[in-house]
């Protein structure tokens, strides 16, 4: 195994675009070897743009086969030190109209994906390794997002308990992003977008790089006494009226 690579290698899921791409880019800029995981084949293009110190893995985190593919890729590069569970999907609908398929699919990726991947990979992390789960401010509840909020809220309890269970060998934390500028939020109609922004004390959407900075910090020794925590990165929205 390449010891120096293990010290600076990270797996980022949902890395083809959006927040995941931002996280992958930030780690790479800091000198890490980044393993970008995504179901979308264009993760290969994203990895190529970020730079040579990357590995693209096309895999479905919601399946045992996908987890096995990621595990094999990790072993091929000689191990890793950090895991960032970012991949997530939305299938929004009011509860009355939500289909069982929309509920299950969202839950299976957003909550089941991290659980499946941690089950498969935690044993491969070295002493001092880290796990960061990306939740959402929507975990506090949102119209039309019963499935999404439930899955992202589930990650919070999972993170707290796992932080205890895996200590002192590993640290486990979560980030709860607010409104972040991505392709997904760019598609929101202007009127709704302005309404959302009016409720954010910092008066702007967050950038993927601002989530990435926190993920990098939680994966570094600078946060060595932090585990089982949830950090809200939402421009102050959580406690605003």
């Amino acid at each position: 195994m390449n010891g120096s690579l293990i010290k600076r290698s990270v797996v980022v899921t949902g890395a083809a675009r959006g927040i995941g791409k931002g996280i992958a880019t930030r780690f790479a800029a800091d000198g890490w070897h980044v393993m970008l995981v995504d179901l979308a084949p264009d993760v290969v293009d994203t990895a190529a743009v970020i730079g040579p110190n990357t590995t693209a893995v096309v895999a479905d985190i919601a399946s045992d086969e996908g987890a096995a593919t990621i595990l094999a890729a990790v072993r091929e590069v000689g191990g890793f030190r950090a895991l960032v569970n970012n991949a997530g999907i939305t299938r929004d609908a009011m509860i009355k109209k939500m289909t069982p398929e929309a509920f299950t699919a969202t839950n299976r990726v957003n909550l089941g994906g991290p659980i499946r991947l941690i089950d498969a990979l935690a044993g491969e992390l070295p002493e001092g390794g880290t796990i960061v789960n990306i939740s959402s401010k929507s975990s506090q509840g949102n119209v039309g997002q019963f499935n999404y909020a439930l899955s992202k809220a589930g990650l919070l309890g999972y993170t707290r308990a796992l932080g205890v269970q895996l200590a002192p060998r590993l640290r486990v934390n979560a980030i709860s992003p607010g409104f972040i500028a991505t392709e997904m939020t760019d598609a929101i109609p202007d009127e709704i977008r302005e309404n959302i922004l009016s409720k954010i004390p910092l008066a702007r959407p967050g950038q993927p790089s601002e989530i990435a900075d926190v993920a990098l910090w939680l994966s570094s020794d600078a946060s060595s006494y932090v585990t089982g925590q949830v950090l809200g990165v939402c421009g102050g929205r959580t406690y605003a009226p």
């Binding site: 009011m94 009355k96 939500m98 659980i115 509840g141 119209v143 439930l150 589930g154 999972y158 269970q165």
Partner: protein, 128 residues
């Protein structure tokens, strides 16, 4: 037993051993919640208070906080037509009558989006 109609889903002693078991339970929560919403009935999820704080297994804790997120979403959606959704957090030391009274209160009070704690886990451990 609560006297008021509504969905009471008790997950307080549920202890899923793997993702498949947790997924099956959450699918059932969704099915029952949708039925309640369509019928215009209030919802109360009962969860383990120690699980909320991460004092139990990761999967059990995931179940507890997942239901909190689900209840809040149901509460936000239900606010338009007066449909309430709440959570009761309990632990093994709670008097069953007190627990039933709390559930019954939430089924009829009009409060929504709340987490009412019957247990004492949130108070921390007593001094030795």
């Amino acid at each position: 037993m609560p006297n008021h109609p509504g969905l009471v889903y008790d997950a307080s002693t549920s202890d899923p051993q793997n993702w498949d078991a947790l997924e099956k339970e959450l699918d059932e929560v969704f099915r029952l919640t949708q039925e309640a919403v369509l019928a215009g009935l209030p919802i109360v999820y009962v969860v383990s208070e120690p699980a909320i704080w991460g004092h139990q297994s990761p999967l059990r804790s995931a179940l507890a906080t997942a239901l909190m997120g689900g209840a809040r979403s149901a509460a936000v959606e239900g606010a338009r037509n007066g449909l309430a959704a709440n959570v009761v957090a309990t632990d093994e030391g709670v008097d069953p009558v007190q627990l039933a009274d709390t559930i019954d209160f939430l089924l009829s009070s009009g409060l929504s989006g709340q987490v009412l704690t019957c247990g004492t886990t949130h108070l921390g451990r007593p001094a030795a």
